[in-house]
């Protein structure tokens, strides 16, 4: 596989908090790649370093050492202004709590990553339309978040993450604040944009159900990669993959070895 085919390369990422005796290692030299059109899941127990990893890739947290290459460029070799340019444009975000600005309408929220970077809202009208239709949020485009359901809010957030055609979408527990029905709808939509539009998605999740939509899953434990699962599509059904995930999760929890 050529380097140019890798959208994201994470090389020997380390992150330590504190110093001296109080030092804790959140990430202990993690290395992996993400290729285009991939739907990568990251799973792990609380405190395993998932969020730290995501924040590093999101450029809102500096790793202590190591490199993160996006499209072949080391993102931390640039200054703050450049990083600001990166955010929203090259990277799309999906948060657990949606993080929609509640005094902006749905449409205004979706446009944000573009207008922040100086684009005319007029130009993206067609793109908004397409995304809104695909995500079934046309009726709420001119509503404020307080007038939307949780599922609608998260789908508006998906549209916001996708509007700038980012190289990669980072999703942090996107189903965390949704009920199972809305979670299912959301995952189907994400899977759709991954498969049909070729969006690359990196999703951190606790939820084995949500993870079963991924094409590959990295399990991390104590700041390092512990296991990797690939879905053998199209031979493997989603529910078979789900079962395999559950098995690894049980192992991750220590398996039967840890039972006292």
């Amino acid at each position: 596989m050529k380097i140019s085919e890798k959208i994201l390369q994470v090389k020997e990422i380390k992150k330590t908090y504190g110093s001296g005796e109080n030092q804790t290692e959140a990430l202990r030299g993690m290395t992996f790649d993400v290729i285009p059109r991939e739907f990568l899941g990251i799973m792990g127990a609380s405190g395993s370093g998932k969020t730290t990893l995501l924040n590093c890739i999101a450029t809102i947290l500096h790793p202590t050492s190591g490199q993160i290459m996006l499209g072949g460029e080391d993102i931390f070799s640039f200054n703050e202004d450049f990083l600001a340019n990166y955010r929203g444009k090259k990277i799309g975000y999906l948060f657990q709590d949606f993080e929609l600005l509640d005094n902006l309408t749905g449409r205004e929220n979706i446009e944000l990553p573009l207008v922040i970077h100086g684009e005319q809202p007029k130009k993206c009208e067609a793109a908004i339309r397409t995304l809104a239709e695909r995500l079934e949020i046309v009726p709420v485009l001119d509503k404020f978040p307080s007038q939307m359901s949780g599922g609608e809010k998260q789908r508006v957030a998906v549209a916001r993450a996708l509007i700038s055609n980012p190289s990669i979408v980072l999703a942090d527990e996107p189903t965390g604040a949704l009920d199972s029905k809305n979670a299912k709808t959301l995952m189907k939509k994400l899977s759709l944009v991954n498969q049909e539009d070729g969006a690359t998605i990196l999703m951190v999740t606790h939820d084995a159900n949500a993870a079963s939509y991924c094409s590959r899953i990295l399990f991390i434990k104590d700041g390092a990669i512990f296991h990797e699962l690939r879905r053998d599509s199209p031979n493997e059904t989603q529910s078979e993959f789900y079962d395999r995930i559950l098995t690894v999760l049980a192992q991750l929890g220590g398996g039967s070895n840890n039972v006292l």
Binding site: Y17, A58, I60, L61, H62, E80, D81, L83, A84, N85, Y86, R87, G88, K89, Y93, F95, E99, L101, D102, N103, L104, E108, E111, L112, P113, V115, I116, H117, G118, E119, Q120, P121, K122, F144, P145, S146, Q147, R160
Partner: protein, 683 residues
């Protein structure tokens, strides 16, 4: 441990929120400055002179104090509310960890007391310094710089300040703690208090905007016309103006939110960057707080009017011409000369002379030969029409002129080291006191045509220069029109040759050494022992001063207080909104907004927010002042409307500078808040 926690928490409050702590100090200074009025140089001096009037003024103090307490309460309330909002997460945590509400309450009260003590420790010295400064400045401004100044502490003022401040702080904190105790711990933990986007219907928004403007226009019209004409309906007119004005302003602000929303929608398609976000933030700010902005704007309006009125009072009343006579004595020549040449008093005397002044004898007027203003009247009639001119003519025609012998007038000039008047044969000099200087221009123009007047059948010409010096020490005795005549003519026309009084000029070196006030008081004391009746320049100043102090001091004080309170509270309110929507800024950062873009969005928000409030207040203020000029406010005749407007403009500049200062302060505070949330390594 408990006390340490209180100390640490309050230290953090002071560090994190300088505006909060600054407002507390301002509250203290505001209280003390006003309550210490009694020990100001000017007032102490006036007490010796106009004790009755001062007593009445001092009765006003508790009333204004109560009003101040009320407003300062709001200031303290909002400052504390902002501070508690910032710490709401902390309180939620305490409760989650099992701290009893009672204990949180006593911790907050403890912090309040501790913070108040520190604020007092800083505020009182500042207040003392400021009162000294004000005392000196007022004294200088009104020409009292000459009083020997002593540092004074007003103990009643101090007690009132400390008591009032603690009361206001504790009541505000009590209320806030009570409100907080009604919330669930989880709500406190969430640390988010902003309401959801209110969607006022567009139609009602526009109606409110239009209705607000109409009501304001009605209020302006009533102010300009009703107050002037319908004097018997005054009270109704005033109530009408207040109701329409206040309702209009409040409605206007509600409507403005809709207008901002409309602008955002309209520009939505072409604006880039954070323009939409900025607009929506503003819309939310104005809509959620329209009543608040309205009240803030009305407070600033009050401040504008008070400042304009106060400043103009200082200048209009302060101009009372030069000092000519220090003391005027009444009594027999011999008696007076004995006293003035006695060894106790003589060293202080520079000059003394009899001042003769009187009107023409009644018999001469009766003869029909009396007096006539002759061609002076015609010369004045030829001048272009003006209200002053008509007034001048009416006064001249009904007025028998006072006459002064040349020797008296020259003695007055000599005592001031000014050149004497030399009269040409058949020439008289026209006199017009400074108190009536509004006629000066017309008279000078009329004199250019060399008019002649008649006295007892004789024709005299008038010198081109008009004399204006005060003839006696008491400023209340002033003469509109008079004539300086040769001594022989005075003897012919006035049979009573007894001087009106004996004027005394004190030794200039002595005055310079002691200060005018002390010099006058010292000699006055000596004269009191002799039993002579006398008038001193002091009482004249006293009366003038009283008007200045009563008129300007109180209104300037109230003006500044309204200004400070309105701005601080508005600023705090803005910061509170920014605080409660901080996660929006965080989201924007993650979406790639640059810090500078956020700063400039916040900057625009601060500017528009304040500009809205201030511009409405200024428009209201212009009409308010115009209405005042038309009605209640009677300017000294010597002051033209232009002068008043100029002085008001000075007040407006002071006002704008204060506003800019506040905007700058709020901007930097808001910037700091954003910087705090935008540090890259948030962990």
């Amino acid at each position: 441990m408990f006390f340490n926690q209180i100390r640490r928490n309050s230290l953090r409050s002071r560090k994190e929120n300088s505006l909060f702590f600054g407002s507390l100090i301002i509250a203290i200074v505001v209280f003390y400055v006003f309550l210490s009025l009694e020990s100001q140089d000017v007032i102490i001096f006036l007490k010796t002179m106009e004790s009755d009037a001062i007593r009445k003024l001092l009765v006003l103090i508790p009333i204004v104090y109560a009003v101040s307490l009320f407003f300062v309460f709001f200031l303290v309330y909002f400052a504390n509310k902002y501070q508690l909002q910032r710490r709401s997460h902390e309180f939620g945590l305490y409760q989650t960890l099992g701290m009893k509400r009672r204990r949180i309450f006593s911790m907050l009260m403890g912090e309040t007391v501790w913070n108040s003590l520190i604020a007092l420790l800083i505020g009182i010295p500042v207040a003392l310094f400021l009162t000294e400064l004000i005392s000196l400045a007022t004294a200088n401004l009104v020409g009292l710089g000459i009083i020997g100044h002593h540092f004074r502490v007003s103990w009643t003022g101090l007690i009132g300040t400390v008591g009032g401040f603690f009361a206001v702080q504790l009541i505000a904190m009590f209320l806030l703690s009570f409100i907080m105790s009604l919330k669930e711990p989880i709500d406190l933990l969430r640390d988010e208090t902003e309401g959801t986007q209110l969607l006022a219907s567009k139609k009602s928004g526009w109606i409110q905007l239009i209705l607000g403007v109409i009501l304001l226009l009605i209020a302006y019209a009533m102010g300009l016309f009703l107050l002037k004409t319908l004097s018997f309906l005054y009270i109704f007119a005033v109530i009408g103006i207040l109701v329409t004005g206040i309702a209009g302003t409040l409605l206007l602000f509600r409507g403005i939110a809709t207008f901002i929303g409309y602008r955002v929608r309209k520009n939505d398609r072409k604006s880039t960057g954070l323009a939409t976000f900025t607009g929506r933030q503003l819309q939310e700010n104005v809509l959620h707080q329209s009543a608040f902005l309205g009240i803030g704007s009305l407070l600033i309006l009050l401040a504008i009017i008070c400042l304009a009125y106060g400043v103009s009072t200082i200048f209009t009343r302060g101009d009372d011409g030069e000092r000519t006579v220090d003391i005027s004595l009444q009594g027999e020549r011999q008696e007076i000369e004995t006293v003035l040449t006695s060894k106790e008093i003589a060293p202080y005397i520079y000059a003394y002379y009899p001042m003769n002044l009187d009107t023409m004898d009644w018999e001469i007027v009766e003869n029909g030969q009396g007096y006539s203003w002759g061609t002076l009247i015609e010369a004045i009639e030829d001048l272009p029409y003006s209200a002053t001119k008509e007034n001048l003519l009416n006064n001249l025609l009904g007025y028998s002129p006072f006459l002064f012998p040349l020797s008296s007038y020259n003695a007055l000039l000599a005592s001031m080291d000014q050149p004497e008047i030399i009269l040409e044969p058949g020439e008289l000099v026209l006199y017009n006191s400074d108190m009536f200087s509004q006629f000066r221009d017309d008279l000078e123009k009329a004199l250019q045509s060399n008019p002649v007047i008649e006295l007892d059948g004789q024709t005299y010409s008038l010198a081109s220069e008009i004399r204006t010096q005060n003839l006696v020490a008491d400023r209340f005795i002033s003469i509109i029109f008079g004539l300086v005549v040769p001594d022989e003519l005075y003897a012919e026309l006035v049979s009573d040759q007894e001087p009106f009084c004996w004027n005394v000029a004190l030794d200039p070196d002595f005055i310079e050494d002691q200060g005018l006030m002390h010099a006058l008081m010292q000699v006055g004391g000596l004269l009191n022992e002799t039993g002579l009746t006398y008038e001193s320049y002091l009482s004249g100043i006293g009366r003038q001063l009283f008007y200045i102090v009563a008129g300007s001091y109180v209104s300037l004080y109230l003006g500044l207080m309204f200004l400070i309170i309105a701005n601080t509270v508005l600023g705090l309110k803005f910061l509170m909104q920014q605080r409660s929507t901080r996660h929006r800024y965080e989201t924007l950062l993650v979406l790639g907004a640059k810090k500078e873009a956020l700063y400039s969005s916040a900057k625009t928000q601060v500017w528009v927010y304040f500009a809205l409030v201030i511009s409405v207040a200024i428009v209201n203020g212009i009409f308010g002042i115009a209405s005042l000029l038309n009605s209640f406010l009677r300017l000294g005749d010597a002051v033209s409307d232009e002068m008043f407007i100029l002085l008001s403009a000075i007040a407006v500049v002071v006002f704008l500078v204060t506003e800019l200062g506040y905007i700058w302060l709020i901007r930097s505070e808001s910037k700091r808040e954003i910087r705090r949330m935008s540090s890259l390594n948030r962990g």
